[in-house]
Amino acid sequence: MPTVSVKRDLLFRALGRTYTDEEFDELCFEFGLELDEIEIISKEQGNEKAHGASDVVLYKIDVPANRYDLLCLEGLVRGLQVFKERIKTPMYKRVMPKGEIQKLIITEETAKIRPYAVAAVLRNIKFTKDRYDSFIELQEKLHQNICRKRALVAIGTHDLDTLSGPFTYTAKKPSDIKFKPLNKSKEYTACELMNIYKTDNQLKHYLHIIENKPLYPVIYDSKGVILSMPPIINGNHSKITVNTKNVFIECTGTDFTKAKIVLDVIVTTFSEYCENQFTVEAAEVVFPNGKLHTFPELAYRKEMVRADLINKKVGIRETPENLAKLLTRMCLKSEVIGDGNQIEVEIPPTRADIIHACDIIEDAAIAYGYNNIQMTLPKTYTIANQFPLNKLTELLRQDMAAAGFTEALTFALCSQEDIADKLGMDISATKAVHISNPKTAEFQVARTTLLPGLLKTLAANRKMPLPLKLFEISDIVIKDSSRDVGARNYRHLCAVYYNKNPGFEIIHGLLDRIMQLLDVPPGEKKGGYAIKASEGPVFFPGRCAEIFARGQSIGKLGVLHPDVITKFELTMPCSCVEINIEPFL
């Protein structure tokens, strides 16, 4: 969930009133925001010189991940003011310039790396320090969220008065791109820049997007000035400042839909500071196929929703007129039309999150107030059933504890070493599933046996009085090509006995008890269980037996091999049993 930091006093001035922290928290809650944190920055520590002793109070507000329109002060204020019916939702208009329209020509070289670009102009905008900071911050928030760290979309904003169109968006060899990047005093080639930015804490995260490509994306103006090398850095030449009057915005990317949304969000949010409020100057983008598109789209869409559907989905009984009012408070201008049950909802370009009637229904519910909805119980009549494997597990757990063993809960993920090397086995023999991107060696594979987890638990509890008796009933994972995903779980039961003597008879006795509980009689005849001498690297030679039940091998029991004991940092003899309980379902 993105967090937006806004200065409290600035926010209250824009909202036209002040709130206590609790009141504002309450308002946020109702609207679906969360006042996450209140930070107080004392002026002496900040960059600004202390004039007046008052500190700056920052509200950190969590915004839902799909509400790109709320990612800055301007957007939050607009949303809340409309919600509180203090203002009407603005109508955004795309206008043609008096003179020549700005053009961005995309060449076909971009196709393989970053094929889409959109553009627009904010004409006669009036920045202040706060507005400027918010403008930059909004771009950063968009980059981090909908733009997926610039991989899908990257934004460039430029002082139009320093440039001369038409602009060309193309892709060139890194060595052929040379310019003075933002906030640097000399020119570098793209290759040099990629090296320099490897140590830049902010920009290093974006380098991978184009790093190994033969051609890098780049935008020129008609005089050969480089506007930007998306998605890495803008040129210093067209840098915007607080005094910039006309802003040229370009968004390049690999996702056309998202590029259009990002452009719409930026221009709608900041057009309120333009001389002609809420108007955005159009720009033309020529695609490699020659097709001409005009941006921003600023598309208004009409949706019909039946009032009774809203009432039925939310569980309220409001008149269509009231529902239309509720929706209008959510920036969705609505009116009742037709037979009096139809509500026509206008989806503004700021609300890209509305993609289905259910999104409209949710907004009606939010405006109605979730906590005003009458709680009722559904009449759904059903008979409960336990999942048989879990039912068996629950029964066995109780009886294992009753038999004097203590239940452990261990991780299902572990290192290769835990399930192979430490048990004297080769990893290829385990049929384990392997994780491709673990952050630490503790999570390389899913366990193929419960034993390592229990031995690690023993090692962590060596100081407890002996004997230690532990068990776990849980799932292990084995590759299985017959399953849709190529792997499956097995429910295992494992128990260990750790003492000065191996206590094979104790573990054996436990197995006998389990079989008694499962109603499996001893003996080799059909339906019975028996153990037969066996061997394996985990066990001390001659102290291992395989367990057969209901005609199949279900596991092993025995005294652990001293090498296994040592590798798990244990010092006493230990015996164990591990079986698959699924045959007993």
């Binding site: 409960a384 995903v485 190529g486």
Partner: protein, 485 residues
Amino acid sequence: MLSKLLGIFWNRGKDPDGSKDVTIGCGSSRCSLSFTSLPSPPPSRAELATELGVEHQTVVGAVKSLQALGQIIETELRSTKRWELTAEGEEIAQEGSHEARVFRSIPPEGLPQSELMRLPSGKVGFSKAMSNKWIRVDKSAADGPRVFRVVDSVEDEVQRRLQLVRGGQAEKLGEKERSELRKRKLLTEATLKTYWVSKGSAFSTSISKQETELSPEMISSGSWRDRPFKPYNFSAHGVLPDSGHLHPLLKVRSQFRQIFLEMGFTEMPTDNYIESSFWNFDALFQPQQHPARDQHDTFFLRDPAQAQQLPMDYVHRVKRTHSQGGYGSQGYKYTWKLDEARKNLLRTHTTAASARALYRLAQKKPFTPAKYFSIDRVFRNETLDATHLAEFHQIEGVVADHGLTLGHLMGVLREFFTKLGITQLRFKPAYNPYTEPSMEIFSYHQGLKKWVEVGNSGIFRPEMLLPMGLPENVSVIAWGLSLER
């Protein structure tokens, strides 16, 4: 020793008045063991230890042993408080108070202050005598400050009071006077503990050894009837049973299972940690560029890397819904890739299992309402620390029926949380990719005195349900929380 002591009782018992008691005392400042006869003739005290000619502690030990034998003797603890002089108090009672001594040491022509301070009582006595206005200091004297008498004679009240206490007449002093003396560390309050010892109901001069435990032989021979038994010490701890235990977190899991079962919910199979991206994300209408599908957040598999079998008919409907929309949706309008959906992972939520269960439900015709739940492990690509686990347990509840509303969801949640003992709930609008409307569940935490998030919930999106084949008027409400929380 014991019989000797009992002999004394025996002999005393023969006295005409017949009620002689033995007192064993143990005071804080001194110990005494006295023998007293009560009520008449008036208490004659005799030190039992002296009478026996043994150490006091030996007698105490013997009496304790007799006590342990049962009802042979009875003892009663009596403690009395009395005032005593401290060593310094004793000295003052003898020599007079510091201030009086200072006063007396000053000759009519005065004494240099420095000299006075060197006297043993100098420092304390000087300030007290000054505040009593018995003496004065002349700072203008030629050889430094000099001290003179102010009055001709003084009454040494302190000495007089201490002498009263020494004479056993402490009660003649007022509470205030006593506490003032105590503050000056001249008096202390001493507690004298004494045991009043008398014959018990089973008094006997011969001691037989007590049995510790009942034995089978005693039962068969009936000897238990005549044997004395050593009393148990009931304030000692018992021996803990040699038992196993269930894991606390899994006990909570059992409680949650029980709640769901009581509410008529059927348990979904969740015994598949490995899931395809398709069931974990795509089926839930979670777009392929969603941050949760990032390598940073999800464990993907290297082997087996891909899910080979997917229900292709359904997959195509999902693909169309994501990339072009449909079922009344605009869709996400991006290029949906099958390879991305095939990527295997460790499930990041049990909602993947819910998706499979709902898909199975959708294949059953005609539709029958269902209530499902699951509690099982989920996995996130985290580095372990105090607040992050790479695997934890998710609890999930799902109800599918015709015409379910947000009000129904809230109603079910209220019942569910009431069973957990959580009654104060409120709901906050939220965003989940696969539910709309979505609600975060908050409960009021009495300890923290604030609202805390306890779970997440919502109504599954039509873009998720309709491609599965569920009827259009069927709604599915769902909620989830973490077992570890």
